[in-house]
């Protein structure tokens, strides 16, 4: 059974999804699917929003070529249920040698290329306000300019549940149905709705390399050590940190998070290089 506040969050998310769908063309819309836990919840909400019909909207995965092997397996399984597009920037940069440019080109640029290629103007994403300080300032219906750039100052005044879901000639939209969910909410919901997630979220003995105290990255080679770790977020494996953990199931994760000292952001190299790096990426067109 869902607790009361999760019911309300679920209702808010579904109402937003439907409002966008009822006021726009399905062909203009896409759901950004990142294979992570938030995407799993978002997918579940889309299923519920359209039930008993199937989801008439395409999903899109921006591949970098450097995702965890377990993520690809999971994605291929999900692809049987939904209409999933996969796009990869042909530039094919490398996270080890291309540094910051890797993320810009393989994620932000790739996303923009894909939106342009398929002429998508409205993109749903699993972003949450509690993830990061600039996301805490984000709207549920976020305006992007024709080049998909975010500008905090030109956002619409937004008063839920009356969303302005209309497109103009000069704007695109990003929709964040999970805005008001916390990391804990995601897991509580996964538990009660029995939602499938990538096994990397659960602690297991894995072959890892230590990067800093308490933080590890996955090693698919012979090098490294064996540690019982899990991932709080999933992205490109060379840029995503694992933490030591004993949480082997969803219940364990929930109790671990109730005591957590750090936010999930610390496991993401991309957001952690400079002050405001997420904000800058959003301004460039990232989710």
């Amino acid at each position: 059974m869902l607790c009361n506040h999760l019911k309300q969050l679920q209702k808010q998310s579904i109402e937003l999804i439907r409002e966008v769908c009822a006021t726009n063309n399905y062909n203009d819309m896409v759901v950004f699917y990142s294979i992570g836990k938030d995407s799993s919840v978002l997918l579940d909400l889309f299923k519920k929003a359209f039930y008993p019909q199937s989801i008439p909207i395409k999903f899109l995965h921006i591949d970098t070529g450097w995702k965890f092997k377990e993520m690809y397996e999971f994605r291929d399984k999900i692809a049987k249920e939904i209409d999933l597009l996969v796009y990869k920037n042909p530039a094919n940069l490398n996270p080890y040698t291309d540094g910051r440019r890797y993320t810009d080109v393989m994620k932000t640029e790739a996303l923009k290329q894909a939106l342009q290629k398929y002429k998508f103007r409205i993109a749903f994403g699993g972003g949450r306000r509690d993830e990061e300080k600039s996301r805490a300032k984000e709207r549920m219906v976020s305006i992007r300019d024709e080049y998909n750039r975010w500008s905090p100052r030109s956002q619409n005044p937004e008063i839920p549940p009356l969303y302005n879901t209309f497109l103009s000639d000069k704007t695109n939209l990003r929709i964040f149905p999970l805005s008001n969910w916390t990391e804990l909410d995601i897991w509580r919901y996964i538990k009660s709705e029995n939602i499938d997630v990538v096994p990397l979220y659960f602690a297991k003995e894995r072959n890892v390399i230590k990067t800093q105290p308490g933080m590890y990255i996955m090693s698919y080679d012979k090098i490294g050590e064996t540690k019982k770790v899990r991932f709080r977020t999933l992205g490109c494996y060379p840029l995503t940190g694992a933490v030591e953990s004993d949480a082997q199931n969803v219940d364990d994760i929930i109790s671990e998070l109730e005591k957590a000292q750090y936010t999930e952001r610390i496991t993401r190299v991309i957001d952690y290089d400079t002050d405001g790096s997420m904000e800058i990426k959003k301004k460039e067109g990232y989710f």
Partner: protein, 532 residues
């Protein structure tokens, strides 16, 4: 969590909103190590180096550089089986729109007032906005009390003084409020604020019913219609529902957990329809109060429920729409009492309209006690002329009670003896007070020359009594005696000297000033006292 509770933190720029919320997050154990490190780094980089809790909220680069909140920050924490949703608002005038949208969502408000700055224009503006959006619970924090310290002790006198001022301002409103002096820097009083918020959230009733369903879309499955719907509070499905705008009975078959509705009748219902039990209004002419985020344009639509309707004619306090909306007065059903105004060309949201009572009726449940503008002065001094000039300066037209008119009816049994004149004035005061108590603004024009009587009326009506003395000498009144009053024997004793008194708020000198100048003086007074 059992409940969801949203509150805003508002108040004038720099009065310490973000700092207070930052401290509150710290005290309630809701700041993670990395968030703390990030805020400390920002304090070093952008501030004096002293840790600024405000950086826990002000997350945009521009906000950090300028040390000002630009947009609302949303933060969440769980406490006492409740999800708290904080909306930390900007205080700067330029970003009032961001504050207003947050207020529209909120269940309660924390309003901060810097002890050394006191009540500012923005403080009053925010109070008004909270009131428009029917926020009932208000926790007022007198902030930065440490800065008032004398010999290391808070300046109690100063705190008391400001407390009195706040109380006097708040008689105009109907908030359930409390005043807490705090220092976020010394971490004093913040826990009391949290306690108060817990108390407020306990008054939130999760079991409230609103029985209004907006149809988002009509869908088909196996040849059967079903509907996507949007509703706010709980629905009591045992009630009798009607379909609007048609106003016909309808039977709800089932509403699934995911908001899928089926109805018994075979009817063609589409987006924009509304199904409700209980009263809703259907009208294409709506009285409103609108908070504009940018200038009104020539091509606007209003979105409410699931309808988006073109605005044909827009007036300051009403608009005519191409099709009716299905709504309630904001005072009756908050969630069904407002809409957003969108520019049709750019699709930008340019305003938020709060729906007031239909047509020319005022609502009896208004949040504020109305003001009584009491025009006093000799016959022929220009009271009625000036009162009429003032009538149109309000977003909601006030009620005019002219003593001469009342003498034609209610007071027609009274003559001009001293006794009768006193009675005459008392009756007018009584009516004015009754109307004001129900939220109406009232303009009275009445000679009422006894100072002691006006003092009594001021006491009766209270803080919303505003006395405007229209000062013109007897000689001038006689000279311009257009009504011939001073020649009338009956009214002979009216030319007795007018008694000036201490109850007066504003004096208008019609011996020297033209109507235009006098009007301007009145408007300046109203504006500077935030009455319009």
């Amino acid at each position: 969590m059992e409940k969801l509770f949203k509150f805003i933190c508002c108040g004038n720029v720099d009065d310490g909103k973000s700092t207070l919320i930052g401290q509150l997050l710290l005290n309630s154990g809701n700041v993670k190590v990395d968030q703390m490190e990030d805020a400390k780094k920002a304090s070093q980089k952008n501030g004096s180096g002293v840790f600024e809790p405000a950086f826990l909220l002000d997350g945009l680069l521009e906000e950090r550089e300028q040390q000002i909140t630009i947009d609302v920050a949303h933060r969440f924490f769980d406490y006492d089986d409740t999800r708290f949703h904080i909306l930390d608002c900007p205080g700067h005038k330029q970003y009032t729109k961001n504050m207003a949208i947050a207020a529209a969502e909120a269940d309660a408000a924390v309003l901060v007032i810097d002890i050394s700055k006191g009540i500012q224009e923005q403080t009053l503006k925010h109070l008004d906005i909270c009131s428009y959006f029917q926020i009932e619970k208000l926790c007022i924090c007198i902030t930065k009390c440490d800065l008032s310290s004398v010999n290391g002790k808070w300046n109690d006198e100063k705190i008391l003084d400001l407390t009195e001022k706040i109380k006097s301002i708040l008689t105009k409103y109907k908030f359930d409020y409390t005043i807490i002096p705090v220092s976020s820097m010394q971490n004093i009083g913040i826990d009391k604020v949290l306690d108060k918020l817990v108390e407020y959230k306990n008054t939130i009733d999760n079991q409230e019913y609103e029985n209004i369903i907006h149809i988002q879309d009509c869908k088909f499955s196996n040849g059967k219609r079903y509907y996507w719907v949007r509703y706010n509070k709980n629905l009591d499905l045992t009630k009798n529902y009607k379909l609007y705008p048609e106003n016909i009975d309808i039977t709800i078959d089932k509403l699934s957990e995911n908001g899928v509705l089926t109805i018994k009748e075979d009817m063609d219902i589409s987006r924009g329809h509304c199904i409700a039990a209980g009263e809703v209004l259907v009208n294409d002419l709506i009285r409103h109060y609108t908070i504009w985020f940018s200038e009104p344009t020539n091509d606007m639509v209003i979105k409410h429920g699931t309808r988006t309707v073109k605005i044909l004619n827009y007036y300051e306090n009403s608009f005519k729409l191409q099709e009716p909306l299905i709504f309630n007065n904001i005072t009756d059903v908050k969630n069904n009492g407002w809409g957003i105004i969108i520019d049709n060309l750019t699709k930008k949201t340019i305003g938020c309209a709060v729906f007031l009572a239909n047509e020319n009726t005022y609502s009896s449940k208004s949040n504020k006690k109305g003001n009584v503008y009491w025009f006093t002065g000799l016959s022929g001094a220009g009271k009625t002329t000036l009162a009429k000039e003032l009538l149109n300066s309000f977003s909601l037209k006030p009620i005019l009670l002219d003593a001469d008119d009342l003498r034609q009816g209610v007071n027609s049994d009274l003559g001009y003896s001293k006794e009768d004149r006193i009675k005459n004035v008392d009756r007018i005061a009584h009516i004015a007070n009754l109307l004001a108590s129900q939220g109406f603004n009232v303009i009275v024009t009445c000679i009422s020359k006894e100072a002691s009587q006006r003092a009594r009326i001021k006491e009766l009506i209270g803080k919303t009594y505003i006395e405007i003395f229209v000062d013109r000498s007897i000689e001038n009144c006689q000279k311009y005696d257009t009504k011939g009053l001073y020649k009338s024997i009956n009214r002979d004793n009216m030319i007795n000297n007018y008694q000036e008194g201490s109850s007066v708020s504003l004096i208008i000198d019609t011996n020297n000033d033209t109507i235009e100048v006098s009007k301007q003086k009145m408007l300046n007074y109203l504006k500077s006292n935030n009455l319009i």
